[in-house]
């Protein structure tokens, strides 16, 4: 059974849906272009959240240094930053530049991360929580970033402070216009400055808490990019810091306005936007955009997949499903009927319906004589029993010189086109939903080779599927493919839905390899369930 990802009302595809899928197509193409150079595990576009966290740690580290050496009084700060930039350019200056450029990079990857999650349709259902907790992070990021520019107390700081307070004054929050604080040089005080530093340190703290909440409901969070990515990114930022060090403008002078500013467009774009529109317009846009982000998960979207169901009698409490579930949807509780044992519990609102748990359960092995295979945790849309029946039926119809079974996933390369007399195809929600014992079962049930077509590395719709499949096949993760199974008869391909040519070629190469292989290097005895049952 191929799981339907079509819209509930197929005759009507909304503007939003077509915009989204166009964005997805574009994003995916660019991402796959990056794959060529970086590979999936070090492709920054596939790890934007982790990149964001990495930039945040750079910001926090460099920020703490700056805070410890700067004189944060209204009269001292400008000179002390200037001194640091000139006299200690090799350390303080570089750290200042890193602080600034990492902030810009943070904003950039955050925006890309948001667009990517939206484009791939990862904002509703079981991802609702991640999406909604992401929205306040946008606000917190901007407040921390903008307030950072004020601390320098140069002309740019002055401009941003006045423009921001003028914007805030449009809202009925202060009894006196906040912009009055910046009328004349003597109208600002050290107290204001202390408050500013407090905001610039306090909001990022809230941001970190917010991010903790943001990733709270998924497991094995991509907390940091790969080493290669971290080194590459740091080297890039360092080079930028040396080539174009962050500098201050002239010192603030409230008796003057600047006629030309070196504006940071990532963080301060809001000021020109206010100038060309109006505070009312900007607030309306900000509020509308925020509301839209919150509403997005409630707009029409594909129906949720049925969730995993646990079978009391077949769950032995081994916790493998808990270890493999990418969405932290599983917890363990005391078994209701077997004292001393545990049982898996599925939180329906977190479950993605990916079936990865069914693929991890030791009870999912097809080498069981029961007529109806019942496992510990299973998917209503394609149960392990359905899968075995489908496989058996397809195996019995296979013919030709080399009979190959291809297991694929509904988000990756389109395997259905490969179906022919010597090739059986079976599509799952994710290749990790396939218990590895099925590979052995297929080989012993008449197949000469088994190919698994997972998504590209880092491209699994369910976050971890391609990784788990790879580790299980290579014996690095439970449930392992038994070591007796000759790996020469198994091929694991990583391909996206743009890689259909690659898929066809991989099958051809695999077939050649099998056909040129000695028959006797296959030590597996045949296994036919019905025969063995009667024997």
């Amino acid at each position: 059974m191929v799981i339907c990802h079509c819209y509930t009302d197929a005759s009507h595809v909304s503007f939003h849906a077509s915009l989204r899928s166009a964005a997805q197509m574009l994003f995916q193409r660019i991402e796959e272009f990056f794959d060529r150079f970086f590979g999936g595990s070090s492709n920054p576009l596939r790890h934007l959240g982790a990149m964001g966290l990495y930039f945040l740690w750079i910001i926090v580290g460099t920020g703490l240094y700056l805070y410890s050496v700067l004189d944060t009084s209204i009269n001292g700060v400008y000179n002390s930053i200037g001194h640091l930039t000139r006299e200690q350019w090799y350390l303080g200056g570089v750290l200042r530049s890193l602080h600034r450029y990492a902030s810009d990079a943070f904003i950039l990857v955050m925006a890309l991360h948001l667009v990517r999650e939206w484009a791939y349709g990862r904002y509703y259902g079981f991802r609702f929580y991640s999406w909604v907790t992401g929205v306040p992070i946008l606000w917190l990021s901007y407040v921390s970033g903008i307030s950072g520019y004020w601390i320098v107390w140069d002309r740019l700081a002055q401009f941003s402070a006045i423009a921001s307070t003028e914007l805030l004054d449009w809202l009925p929050i202060f009894s006196e216009p906040a912009a009055r604080n910046f009328l004349t040089p003597d109208s600002i005080s050290d107290r204001f400055f202390t408050m500013l530093v407090f905001i610039h340190l306090g909001i990022p703290l809230m941001l970190i808490l917010g991010l903790w909440a943001h990733v709270h409901r998924i497991s094995r969070v991509d907390y940091l990019p790969s080493r290669q990515m971290m080194l590459g990114t740091l080297a890039t930022l360092l080079a930028l810091a040396l080539i174009k060090p962050a500098l201050s403008d002239a010192p603030a002078d409230l008796a003057m306005v600047s006629t030309q500013l070196r504006l940071d467009w990532f963080l301060l774009f809001i000021h020109p936007l206010t100038d060309v529109t109006s505070p009312a317009m900007v607030w309306s846009m900000l509020i509308a955009a925020t509301a839209l982000l919150f509403i997005l998960p409630f707009l029409p979207h594909p129906k949720a997949e049925p969730v995993a169901l646990v079978d009391q009698a077949n769950c032995n409490g081994c916790s493998r499903c808990l270890a493999d579930c990418p969405f932290a949807a599983i917890t363990m509780a005391p078994h209701p009927s077997r004292p001393g044992y545990k049982i898996a519990i599925v939180a329906a609102d977190l479950c993605a319906g990916c079936g990865i748990c069914a693929g991890s359960c030791p009870s999912s092995t097809p080498f069981r004589s029961q007529e109806r295979l019942v496992t510990g945790i299973d998917m209503p849309q394609l149960s392990v029993n359905d899968l075995r029946q489908q496989l058996e039926a397809k195996l019995s119809r296979l013919g030709g010189r080399s009979r190959i079974v291809v297991f694929g996933c509904s988000h990756g390369a389109k395997i259905n086109a490969l179906s022919s007399t010597d090739t059986a195809v079976i599509s799952l929600a994710c290749t990790a939903a396939l218990p590895p014992a099925f590979v052995e079962y297929a080989l012993r049930g008449g197949a000469d080779g088994v190919m698994l077509a997972s998504c590209r590395s880092g491209g699994c719709h369910y976050r971890l599927g391609e990784r788990w499949t790879d580790e299980r096949l290579n014996g690095r993760r439970e449930p392992r493919l038994r070591s007796k199974v000759p790996l020469s008869r198994v091929h694991h391909l990583f391909a996206s839905d743009n890689d259909n040519k690659l898929l066809a070629e991989a099958l051809k190469t695999f077939r050649n390899r099998i056909e040129n292989q000695q028959a006797d290097d296959d030590p597996l005895p045949p296994y036919f369930r019905r025969n063995s049952y009667h024997a």
């Binding site: 450029y101 006196e176 009328l183 990532f266 000021h271 100038d275």
Partner: protein, 166 residues
């Protein structure tokens, strides 16, 4: 793909990333006002007068002895009327309302005007207690604004009422 090509590709892409960040961190330059412009900022925060009423002798007669104040002053403050002229032409006029639920707070205004640098006759009139006619605060002066200069019109009773500050 050969490893060397992949590495070159990575360097190019990281370089593009750095160029993008580095460029938009300071470019394009932003010009909030034209080179030959100056600003006048009108900003005040002032408590309007109270609209007191003289009590009639009969009223006072009917009140307890210890409460016989000659004036009846409500809590709320008067609106403040403000007019600004530039070279004899009206530039701005407003009636500022007191803040606070019972209208007993300060009245405020904050307004920014951009003009060409040069010399102007600036006059400001204010009435902070509308029970009285006319304007009880007036300030008029010939001003010269250099490019990019900010002139502030403010009010401070301790500094003699309305004042300009450059």
């Amino acid at each position: 793909m050969p490893k060397a090509v992949a590495i070159v590709g990575q360097i190019v892409l990281y370089g593009a990333f750095a160029a993008f960040i580095g460029y938009f961190a300071t470019y394009p330059r932003y010009r909030p006002i034209p080179d030959d412009a100056a600003l006048i900022k009108l900003s005040m925060s002032h408590l309007g007068g109270r609209e007191c009423r003289k009590r009639t002798p009969e009223e006072l007669e009917n009140m307890p002895r210890n409460m016989r104040a000659p004036l009846d002053c409500p809590r709320h403050r008067s609106d403040i009327k403000l007019e600004v002229d530039l070279d004899g032409q009206p530039l701005f006029s407003t009636i500022m309302q007191p803040t606070g639920l019972s209208k007993d707070g300060v009245s405020t205004v904050y307004k920014r005007f951009q003009l060409k640098a040069g010399s102007y006759r600036l006059s400001v009139r204010m009435n902070d207690n509308l029970i009285n006619p006319g304007y009880n605060h007036v300030k008029e002066e010939q001003i010269t604004l250099k490019p990019a200069q900010v002139l502030v019109i403010d009010f401070n009773p301790d500094k003699g009422g309305l004042f300009f500050r450059q």
